[in-house]
């Protein structure tokens, strides 16, 4: 369930960024009028929720202390959104988690997530399969790194996941696929991902 939602979040992250700031005053949404949730609708809902998060006039709390802390949290989210647009990896990771939080709020069950993208379909797009594969592989590398003694641990072990994966399964060998197999090339095929 987690990887499905995270993949969804990954797809949405590209749709949510700068426009969130500009459209922060959107109030009405038609997303809730229809019961069927689509990827486009979910993306809009995430955009709206993030806009709501960074709005300075929305606050639920008990005290001045809470209010100040909420303002600081909002300011932090604004910074992270700005930095993720600029391409900073750490900021992207944080924004992705934020989006994941919103997606889980709207998509509470696995069947709801499958309704948006048919994760259980045998004809699932190879791109999405690749995303799921990488998500699990990164997680595996992080876990493996955590079990090593402290002095042998590396920082951000998931960063080179694709490099390690390609090397491990010898996917960087020359293949004769394009141009009727005449010319050698380097690529990863859909079959290899399957």
């Amino acid at each position: 369930m987690n990887f499905i939602l995270l993949s969804l979040s990954g797809l949405i992250i590209f749709g949510v960024s700068w426009s969130t700031f500009i459209k922060s005053k959107r109030t009405e949404s038609e997303n809730f009028t229809n019961n069927v949730l689509t990827l486009a609708k979910l993306t809009d809902m995430v955009k709206e929720d993030i806009a709501e998060l960074v709005k300075m006039d929305t606050f639920i709390g008990n005290s001045e202390l809470d209010y100040e802390a909420a303002l600081n949290r909002k300011a932090k989210i604004n910074t992270m959104l700005r930095e993720s647009v600029d391409g900073k990896d750490s900021a992207k990771d944080i924004v992705l988690d934020l989006i994941y939080g919103i997606v889980t709020k709207h998509c509470r069950t696995e069947s709801m997530a499958n309704g948006i993208i048919a994760f259980n379909s045998p004809r699932l797009d190879v791109g999405i399969k690749f995303e799921i594969l990488m998500y699990h592989y990164k997680k595996y590398l992080v876990q493996e790194n955590a079990q090593k003694p402290l002095e042998q641990q590396i920082r951000d072990p998931g960063k080179d996941a694709i490099k390690i994966w390609v090397k491990k399964y010898d996917l960087n060998r020359e293949k004769h696929i394009i141009e009727d197999g005449v010319l050698g090339s380097y690529c990863i095929t859909a079959d290899e991902v399957h």
Partner: protein, 283 residues
């Protein structure tokens, strides 16, 4: 100072109650910034005792904080912005969202504890399994350990076993010399002197008498805990309410034993509510 509160028998000795008493005592009388956190984020016992509504604010979820700490996007002095504020000086770290894997919790916990420099004292309510990795991590970072017990013989026997286990673990992690620097105390929860005196309990446990603290049984205390008004009962006892006066002495002894030379006793009137709890139906 990092203090872990770990129970010998899960769910029977009032682990959370002892942890909450300690944080209130430190925050209300020692003029310190204190925070309370726990390991089993699925447990709602802390926030329900304090009457805090579980918030679904995703900007405050601990998985969000974990990501920021891992990515070095959060400075130590910014961590308190993500806590649940009970009053000035007392913050709680809990979450409504438990989507973290065990290794993520461990790394997060490690990060969080190392960056808790905004607080003078951090109390960890160890509500996970005694032998779990998270428990071991909590013991590893602790300067002092509190084992809440009752006057039940079986609980006392389990507490002896737990103390032995903690000492062995600490020796493995820190070595004998450093592990001896970690003090282990026992707090007898729901204490009734007519059942067994604290001196006798200390003898049974095989520890000096000063290592055994007490938290006397009090019906008002229990009632306010059930009503989610625990903070009010601490305020009330510090305002010398006769019905919960013994709690004040227990809190004082707890602080004195744990803090040693650092101990002061100054009730912060700004933090202590002057409301009449009777009018509000708490007492």
């Amino acid at each position: 100072m990092i203090i872990s509160v770990i129970t010998p028998v899960h769910g029977q000795t009032g682990n959370t109650t002892v942890a909450l008493t300690l944080v209130h005592a430190l925050a209300l009388t020692q003029m310190k910034e204190v925070c309370l956190t726990h390991i089993d984020y699925g447990s709602q016992s802390i926030i329900s005792s304090l009457g805090v509504e579980p918030s679904e604010d995703i900007t405050r979820s601990l998985s969000h904080v974990a990501k920021m700490l891992t990515n070095n996007a959060l400075k130590a002095d910014e961590i308190p912005d993500y806590a649940i504020k009970i009053f000035k000086g007392l913050d709680i770290y809990s979450t409504h969202k438990v989507d973290l894997e065990e290794y993520e919790i461990l790394s997060f916990f490690d990060n969080l504890i190392r960056n808790m420099t905004a607080y003078h004292h951090t109390i960890i309510d160890v509500d996970s399994e005694k032998t779990s990795n998270s428990t071991v991590k909590a013991l590893e970072v602790s300067d002092a350990i509190i084992i809440p017990i009752t006057q039940n013989t079986i609980v006392i026997q389990e507490a002896i076993r737990l103390k032995r286990m903690i000492r062995e673990k600490l020796e493995d992690i820190k070595g004998k010399k450093k592990s001896n620097a970690v003090a282990i105390y026992f707090v007898v929860n729901h204490y009734r002197p007519e059942i067994m005196s604290s001196a006798k309990i200390a003898k049974k446990l095989g520890v000096p008498r000063k290592s055994v603290l007490t938290l006397e049984y009090n019906q008002w205390f229990m009632r306010s805990s059930n009503n989610g008004r625990l903070t009010d009962i601490f305020s009330s006892c510090l305002n010398n309410d006769a019905r919960v006066l013994k709690l004040k002495f227990d809190m004082k002894r707890m602080c004195k034993t744990l803090l040693g030379k650092e101990f002061i006793w100054e009730v912060d009137n700004k933090k202590v509510k002057q409301d009449d709890l009777e009018d509000e139906g708490v007492i």
